[in-house]
């Protein structure tokens, strides 16, 4: 099923520029989270209507956070296009993000699964907490990777946890042990995704040629930056912070040292993937026979999210 999460008919026509803003926003996204929902839901035999609801929910929440993020960070571009706050107005960007979250609540409440509504509300709450705390770490050049992992567990991982748990909630499977295990797995997926995203900022496995060093230039030490600068002198860190290009980064750290630390970072994350694989094995004990195909879908996710191999 090809999921189209956004359609102009879903929104009022009398709000000026709203549909133009959403058209810009949704037309260039990859919709990875919606696809993940679809892959998980297939094995739980959810109806097309439910799958569409879940896919739309996660994409609305994700894109709402992007609208707000870009304004908070004053990022001029989103997906290589002018960011909404700049193209329209900051006020419209805030309101458009809020409106997406409101539509999520409307859609879910019409569907009527109270646990799904509750879980979604908790997820949005975690996402916002992560955003709030992350904002306090701007210009904190000594932040450690453990502290950043806490932020990412709230911010990034909460969406991935939702993607693998919400289909079970929609299927009215509320087994607490199952959901805690899925929660752990979602945490690990979120961690791997965020770390991969942080590597992109240093032009590592940047297959889509995205702009680099955006985090550093905004005053934010991402997880790879925190890892690579561990144990460095204040002088080296100061030089690193001022980097405007990868050449500057290599000069600050040493190119050989940079790639040594990258190899070490990758090794750490391979071990995270090994733990995730173990949890996949444990998950088989919770699934019904017709659901076992889900394991193969989940097993490939670390490769996709971290190594960016599709």
């Amino acid at each position: 099923m090809n999921i189209k999460v956004y359609a102009p008919e879903d929104f009022p026509s009398y709000l000026p520029k709203l549909n133009a803003l959403y058209d810009d926003l949704f037309s260039h996204g990859k919709g990875f989270r919606a696809k993940l929902i679809q892959r998980v839901s297939e094995h739980l035999q959810l109806s097309d209507e439910r799958v569409h609801l879940l896919a739309q929910t996660i994409e609305f929440i994700h894109n709402a956070s992007l609208l707000h993020d870009d304004l908070i960070d004053r990022s001029p571009l989103r997906r290589e296009k002018t960011a909404a706050w700049l193209k329209y107005t900051p006020e419209y960007a805030v309101l458009a993000g809020d409106y997406l979250l409101a539509r999520v609540m409307v859609n879910l409440s019409r569907y009527g699964n109270l646990r799904l509504i509750q879980y979604t509300a908790e997820m949005i709450s975690d996402l916002l907490e992560g955003e709030w705390i992350q904002d306090s770490l701007v210009e904190d050049w000594d932040v450690s990777i453990n502290q950043l992992d806490r932020v990412h567990n709230l911010k990034t991982a909460s969406l991935f946890k939702w993607c693998i748990r919400a289909p079970f909630v929609a299927a009215e499977n509320y087994d607490e042990n199952l959901h805690r295990l899925l929660d752990e797995m979602g945490s690990l997926l979120g961690l791997l995704f965020q770390r991969s995203d942080d590597l992109l900022d240093f032009d590592i496995r940047n297959y889509e040629r995205k702009a680099i060093l955006g985090d550093l230039k905004s005053g934010y030490m991402n997880s790879f930056a925190a890892f690579v600068t561990r144990g460095m002198s204040e002088q080296q860190k100061a030089k690193f912070r001022q980097s405007q290009s990868m050449a500057d980064v290599y000069q600050a750290i040493g190119e050989a040292e940079f790639f040594n630390r990258l190899a070490e970072f990758d090794e750490h994350n391979k071990k995270v993937m090994a733990l995730y694989d173990h949890h996949c094995l444990t998950l088989t004990t919770f699934l019904k026979p017709h659901e076992q195909g889900l394991i193969e879908e989940l097993k490939v996710l670390p490769n996709i999210l971290y190594w960016r191999k599709v």
Binding site: R150, N177, R180, L181, E184, L275
Partner: protein, 353 residues
């Protein structure tokens, strides 16, 4: 970043007979089990995933560093420096005073026993599994098995009790002091971890046990009495120790809040906790001035100046912290241990001059 090593994983539920063996580390002589993931911590449904490693796969430090870590010798000044200052105050020395020697040695053993017990209990309850900043981390890193840490605690505690016997035989009244301190310490700690009981209890316990109870007790052993100066010096050191404990709790407040623990920072909230810490630093500056002028007021009181200046910077540093995850906040406990050492050194200079 926690290094997961290269071993296989196994998961056990609390109800399974292997659970406690793996948690204690007593399941095998040839392998170590590191808890890497815990669900439903400290509940009957608890599930823990262990990574199984061979001892040679664990990156152990040199023996001295291992003992330094497990006995928390970095925090030994918090325990032993106040008695040293009291010795200088009373113009006494350990030689020729066997009871003072017994006290010193007993405190040394008690220090190690307390931290080993904390590490063991926090590991078994899962606290140090969800809070990667808690404890010495020797168990979580696979340096020592939990059962070994427990045994170290028992041996050190027995040694502390043995060394205390001559003191309590000479001064039976001190037994009450010791029992009160022990009860306060144990009750305060367990209330801190469970989040039940008065929120201020554990902080007051730290203040008293590493402050006035310690200095008054030692002063009594040295001289058979306790001076007002001993109480004031104890209050000064106790305040630093309390600030240390409160800062550590503030650092872990995000994790504690998510785990449902109602510690003082969780209940007060970050902004008010920050204000409280800043106020306590101001109180410490004032008490420093008081302590350094009580015994012998005059120009000698200027000995306190480096401490007062340093504490002012610390107060500003605390106030500039933006969140519980700020790296600046993580540095403050180590700064406070340094101030504790500086206090002791300056007090010694002040008393000798």
């Amino acid at each position: 970043m926690t290094d997961l090593g290269t071993g296989r994983f196994v998961t056990f539920e609390k109800s399974s007979p292997e659970f406690s063996q793996y948690l204690l580390g007593s399941f095998s002589d040839k392998e170590i089990a590191l808890p890497v993931s815990s669900l439903f911590v400290n509940t009957p449904q608890e599930q823990v995933t262990f990574q199984i490693l061979r001892p040679q796969d664990v990156d152990r430090p040199p023996l001295w560093k291992l003992w330094f870590q497990v006995l928390r010798l970095d925090l030994l000044p918090l325990t032993l420096l106040p008695p040293v200052v009291i010795m200088i105050l009373e113009r006494s020395s350990l030689s020729g005073n066997p009871l003072a020697i017994w006290s010193f040695v007993a405190l040394l053993f008690l220090h190690g026993a307390t931290f080993c017990r904390n590490d063991y209990m926090d590991h078994m309850r899962g606290v140090d599994r969800w809070n990667e900043k808690g404890g010495s981390r020797v168990i979580q890193r696979g340096w020592l098995r939990a059962v070994s840490v427990r045994n170290i605690y028992l041996v050190l505690m027995l040694a502390a009790v043995f060394c205390s016997v001559p003191i309590f035989m000479a001064y039976p009244e001190l037994l009450l002091d010791a029992i009160f301190a022990a009860a306060l310490g144990i009750w305060g700690y367990s209330h801190l971890r469970s989040g039940r009981g008065p929120l201020w209890l554990s902080s007051v316990g730290v203040f008293l046990c590493l402050g006035p109870l310690l200095t008054v007790g030692f002063s009594w052993v040295m001289t058979g009495t306790a001076s007002v100066a001993a109480v004031l010096i104890g209050a000064h050191f106790g305040l630093i120790a309390m600030l240390y404990a409160l800062t550590r709790h503030t650092i872990s407040m995000l994790v504690d809040d998510q785990a449902g623990l109602r510690t003082l920072p969780v209940v007060l909230g970050f902004d008010r906790m920050k204000a409280l810490l800043s106020v306590l630093v101001i109180v410490l500056i004032i008490t420093s001035g008081f302590v350094f002028s009580w015994a012998e007021p005059g120009l000698k009181s200027l000995t306190a100046l480096p401490l007062v200046v340093g504490l002012s910077f610390l107060g500003r540093k605390i106030y500039a912290v933006k969140s519980p995850l700020s790296s600046a906040l993580l540095e403050i406990p180590a700064n406070l241990v340094s101030f504790h050492l500086l206090s002791g050194a300056l007090l010694v200079v002040y008393l000798i001059l």
